[in-house]
């Protein structure tokens, strides 16, 4: 009988070879496992099989390397499973603060948080080492500071307060002034009056600020000292929020109010082009990630709050099954698709976000991690259950190493951190 090599026969033969090979592999790995157990029992090294023996005379074999990689992966995973890191909640400063900042491009290897004390206007820096260390780094007193914005990666600060006539005053100070500078500017440099909104770019060397008057809102770019202001934008309506997006873009969103349609534009600081991103979203709050790939936004109508992530390239929206306001979230700088959100445990009846901004309603938050690609979310910390502590987070920030999330507790304006990752163990 002749063998006829048709397609069907070739497939059958190939399948047979693969099955035999897989059986041999399984048998070999069972044999190796038995051997390994035996060696461990009698205290011998497994390096012979892993190709790392320095006294056997054998050099690393390819097969040994493959097993080594498999062993490491499994070990890492089982270690991860055995020692799941539990996030740690810490109150960093017990007095009310007026603003904070964590550098994300220092390259120093240490996470820092800078903050301004509300009562004195003094600036402090905390280094988040094994031992948390707080240092007062600016002693120039300004009482009743309402807001502070850090510039130049923490080397400057703009403190904002109300004068007796209820005008907003904004003063720039370098954190460590030269002697000449301190003599020339004993109280700091005054920026324009009644700056309604102010934010600094990621490099800390340019500020965007909005001045509102009867003629509407005007947006300017300048140095943190207010030098050479350049008007780049204006609007007849006066109340806007701004967020730097990437290096040269600004996301301008109308201030939100429950049920009122909000509009968000992206403007380029070097051109005057405006790109409409969202319109007529009730109670719109936006939060774009640093690479501008994803736009997190929330809509709110009375106590009906929902959260979405927009893929800015695909123009698709994904509803996130968590109920929170987008300004209670912070994007990762390392993994652009990851966003951390403080999510209220319960949303009581109310008018959001208005009554939260007014300080009339406070939340008890849980910290969640959300993946913008898959929509998967993971609960990291429930402070009320785990620490018996109620926190209502605002102004969340993530440290350079992404081990810490810092936030201000809205109810008392104190500064807190949540350690979300363990320190890397230093190899000996």
């Amino acid at each position: 009988m002749k063998f006829a090599p048709n397609k069907s026969n070739i497939y059958t033969l190939a399948t047979g070879i693969i099955v035999v090979f897989v059986i041999i592999l399984i048998a070999w790995s069972i044999f190796l496992g038995k051997e390994n157990k035996e060696i461990q029992k009698i205290g011998k090294s497994t390096d012979y099989f892993l190709g790392n023996s320095d006294n056997s005379g054998f050099t690393s074999s390819g097969f040994g390397k493959i097993i080594n990689e498999i062993k490491n992966t499994v070990t890492d995973k089982s270690e991860e499973q055995q020692a799941v890191f539990k996030p740690i909640l810490t109150q960093l400063h017990t007095a009310p603060i007026a603003g904070s900042f964590t550098p994300v491009k220092s390259g120093s290897g240490i996470d820092y948080i800078y903050f301004t004390e509300r009562t004195t206007g003094h600036v402090f820096r905390i280094s988040m080492n094994e031992k948390i260390n707080t240092t007062r780094i600016l002693h120039t007193t300004i009482p009743n500071v309402q807001e502070s914005i850090f510039t130049d990666s923490g080397r400057g600060v703009i403190r904002r307060y109300l004068d007796k006539e209820n005008n907003i005053v904004s003063i720039y100070n370098p954190i460590t002034p030269s002697k000449d500078y301190a003599e020339e500017n004993p109280t700091g440099i005054y920026l324009a009056d009644n700056i309604n909104y102010l934010s600094v770019n990621i490099d800390g060397d340019t500020i965007f600020y909005i001045v509102s008057s009867a003629n509407g809102a005007e947006g300017f770019l300048s140095s943190p000292r207010g030098e050479e202001p350049k008007k780049i934008w204006s609007s007849w309506v006066r109340k806007w929020n701004a967020q730097w997006a990437g290096t040269n873009n600004l996301l301008l969103t109308q201030k939100p109010s429950s049920g009122l349609g909000g509009v968000a534009f992206l403007i380029n600081s070097t051109k005057t082009h405006e790109e409409l991103l969202l319109s007529y979203v009730p109670g719109l709050i936006t939060n774009i990630n640093p690479s501008m790939e994803y736009l997190l936004y929330s809509r709110a109508n009375e106590d009906n709050i929902s959260l979405f992530i927009r893929d800015t390239a695909k123009h698709t929206d994904m509803k996130i099954p968590l109920t929170t306001l987008a300004d209670k979230c912070v994007w990762s700088n390392i993994r652009t698709e990851i966003v951390y959100c403080f999510v209220p445990k319960n949303i009581q009846n109310g008018i959001y976000p208005d009554q939260w901004y007014q300080g009339l309603i406070h939340f008890s938050d849980k910290l969640w991690k959300i993946n913008a690609i898959t929509g998967e979310s993971e609960l990291l910390l429930s402070s009320e259950e785990e620490y018996n502590t109620v926190v209502d987070a605002e102004n969340p920030q993530i440290s350079e190493s992404e081990k810490y999330i810092f936030f201000t507790n809205k109810k008392d304006q104190t500064l807190w951190s949540i350690k979300i990752k363990e320190n890397e163990k230093i190899s000996e």
């Binding site: 017990t94 007095a95 009310p96 509300r118 009562t119 004195t120 009482p143 009743n144 309402q146 807001e147 904002r160 307060y161 109300l162 006539e165 209820n166 907003i168 509407g216 609007s235 007849w236 309506v237 006066r238 109340k239 929020n241 109308q254 201030k255 939100p256 109010s257 009122l260 349609g261 909000g262 509009v263 405006e274 409409l276 319109s279 123009h315 300004d327 976000p353 208005d354 901004y357 007014q358 300080g359 009339l360 406070h362 809205k410 109810k411 008392d412 304006q413």
Partner: protein
Amino acid sequence: MREILFSTLIFFILVGTTSALTLDNATLQSIGAVSSPIDTSIEIIPEYPGPNTRVQATLKLSSVNISTAEVAWVVNNVILKSGKGIQTIEIETGNIGDKMEVSAVIKPTNGPVLVVQNIINPSSIVLLQEAEVYTPPFYKGRPRFSTNSIVRLEAITEIAKENGSIYSPDELTYVWSRNSIVIPEVSGIGKSFIRIKGPNYLGNDLISLKVLDVKGSTRAEIATFIKSGTPQLLLYEKKPLIGHALFNAINDTEALSGRVLNIVAEPYFIEVIDKNSNLLKYTWSIDGQTLPVQNPPSELSIDTDESAVGKELNIAVTIKHLKNAMQDAYTSMRVGVSLNVNDFGL
């Protein structure tokens, strides 16, 4: 020749091939088609679509039974869809400046071939609104409209000219209406932003806007409701070093501590520039007893003695707007007094 062209067209219609097809006058004449006959049109919904928006084009014609007619939809000279009785198609508009010519070629069971056309020129319009009312400095929310207050409206348009460039707001005519009645005093060329008085008590005004190009053609339309609301009056603590604790409003039955209690009234959404404006008359009372006018009028300072500790004070404040009676506001709080001196601000 005429028969050949007609057959070609019908072939495309019957086969449904997506092919280039120029529906110029010569072509139409050669097949004896009747262009844009009376009582026929293509209705576009939405009427003035934005860029990259899905629109519905529907054939409106009364003289022909469409269900039995062969219809070919041609978009920018490309047959998009064809077959018997296709009355509606969905298409997506392009960017601003990308005009889209939508045609329907109809072959009734008897009678001449009909051709109907419409042009979609996408435009973008956004209407911003904001009330001219007081909110505290550094407040993160938007001022809400309250009865009879002034509202600011601004239309931001992107409307393309024939050559694809964008009209500046100064070249366009803006026709503003309230409840479908034109407001001539704020309408006109370049009037892209306006200030108008909002509705009365419990009113809900429909403010609409039509934007016309230099030829007088309507190019964009938008409308929004403005609903009357009421001001809100909230109380906060003021501490000497912290200042106004606007992050935490005083809630009813809340316990406050200190020898001196400083309480600040914040009238959200009231029509003044400054909360201590002469237009507002504050009346404070404690346990029903009216207090003299405070200085500043929005702040109340209470000296508590030991006899007050553990007691509850009923603090009430009324604000009367001297020019707008509909914006009066009132609040009252029962506040407990303790002498647990707070570490901060005392």
